[in-house]
């Protein structure tokens, strides 16, 4: 970097003279830092999941003479659930590509498909939980089951709120169109949705697959 360029101040006044110490807060466009802020939220959410994974890792083998993962987990069902979430990730990606091209109708269709996959995921998960509870494998049964229901349930709760957010944004776009604020919101939900898929990788690997290995 040349000497002259290194003296470039942050701001320049009307006469082109450099201002080294701006007196007023410089203007930031609306939503300027939303994506960074939302990323910070996701990172803190990541810490919540890390703690739940740590709890599961510590007490996941304490069955209290109750059912173990091998008695309860149905891997084909988990594989189906995983594919639902993976498919919802790619369809959300297609919705974002349609959004960039300002194709509102196309985007709404992809968002609707994403929502359906999300609901399928939740339906399968609730069926699994109901089946386990029916067998007497309730959260109160053992430390393993408490940790399991809290970890997988927290992920499911995130997906539930993701679905609610998705429908909310579809209504917003339907009423107001693809205004910059709505695009920003859709980009936040995109991060949220793909982040949940990343967490699910950890869940199916360390809870379900490792559970069957024990």
């Amino acid at each position: 970097m040349s000497h002259a360029a290194s003296l470039n101040p942050d701001y320049v006044d009307e006469a082109g003279r450099p201002i080294y110490h701006p007196v007023e807060e410089p203007h930031h466009p609306e939503g300027h830092s939303t994506m960074l802020g939302f990323w910070m939220y996701l990172m803190s959410d990541c810490l919540i999941f890390a703690m739940l994974f740590a709890v599961y890792a510590v007490v996941g083998a304490n069955y209290a003479a109750g059912p173990s993962p091998k008695d309860l987990f149905d891997l084909p069902l988990v594989a189906l659930n995983t594919s639902m979430l993976l498919l919802s990730s790619i369809t959300y990606g297609f919705a974002m590509l349609a959004m960039v091209r300002n194709r509102t109708a196309q985007m709404q269709i992809w968002l609707a498909i994403t929502g359906v996959f999300g609901l399928c995921f939740l339906g399968i998960e609730l069926y699994e939980f109901a089946h386990m509870i029916h067998l007497g494998a309730t959260p109160q049964r053992s430390a393993f089951l408490s940790a399991f229901f809290v970890l997988v349930g927290t992920h499911g709760l995130h997906v539930t709120f993701g679905c609610i957010w998705l429908v909310t944004l579809m209504v917003q776009v339907w009423r107001k169109g693809l205004i910059p604020a709505n695009k920003r919101r859709l980009m936040c939900l995109s991060l949220f949705w793909h982040f949940l898929d990343v967490i699910w990788i950890g869940v199916f690997t360390f809870v379900y697959l490792f559970g069957m290995l024990r």
Binding site: A54, L97, F195
Partner: protein, 130 residues
């Protein structure tokens, strides 16, 4: 020296501002499909390994852990569009910080509790003693 570094950052920042509104990487159909196909493969192989019990449990454990790590990176790159430039590098910095905290907390918990369990083992033998 530090002033120069600061100015470098300021210049980059102005550069970003010009493109504001569409300076985020949205990926393309191709990158999404690459990410999706990699994810399908990286998901299918661990499930297949565990369901068919093709390898010894310990080997399977190591292999599926490796697949999970690779798949998380694939998702980060192809779906979350992570790179060292997004948000002027702050995204990556926050991610690295989070990973450090997560590794310390999870590995630390497992390590401490495993040793605690090992050291406490005799008192767990109440049933066999009775």
């Amino acid at each position: 020296m530090s002033a120069e570094a600061h100015n470098d950052h300021a210049v980059d920042h102005h550069h970003d501002d010009h493109h504001h509104g569409d300076d985020h990487d949205h990926g393309s159909f191709k990158t999404y499909m690459i990410g999706f196909l990699l994810s399908v493969v990286l998901t299918a192989i661990p499930f297949w390994l565990v369901m068919t019990e093709a390898l010894a449990p310990q080997t399977t454990g190591l292999v599926i852990t490796a697949f999970a790590v690779v798949q998380i990176i694939v998702h980060m790159v192809f779906f979350l569009h992570m790179n060292h430039k997004s948000e002027g590098g702050w995204n990556m910095l926050a991610l690295i910080f989070t990973i450090v905290i997560v590794v310390i907390a999870v590995a630390g918990s497992v390590w401490v509790m495993y040793h605690l369990n090992t050291n406490m083992m005799p008192t767990h033998d109440m049933q066999t003693m009775g």
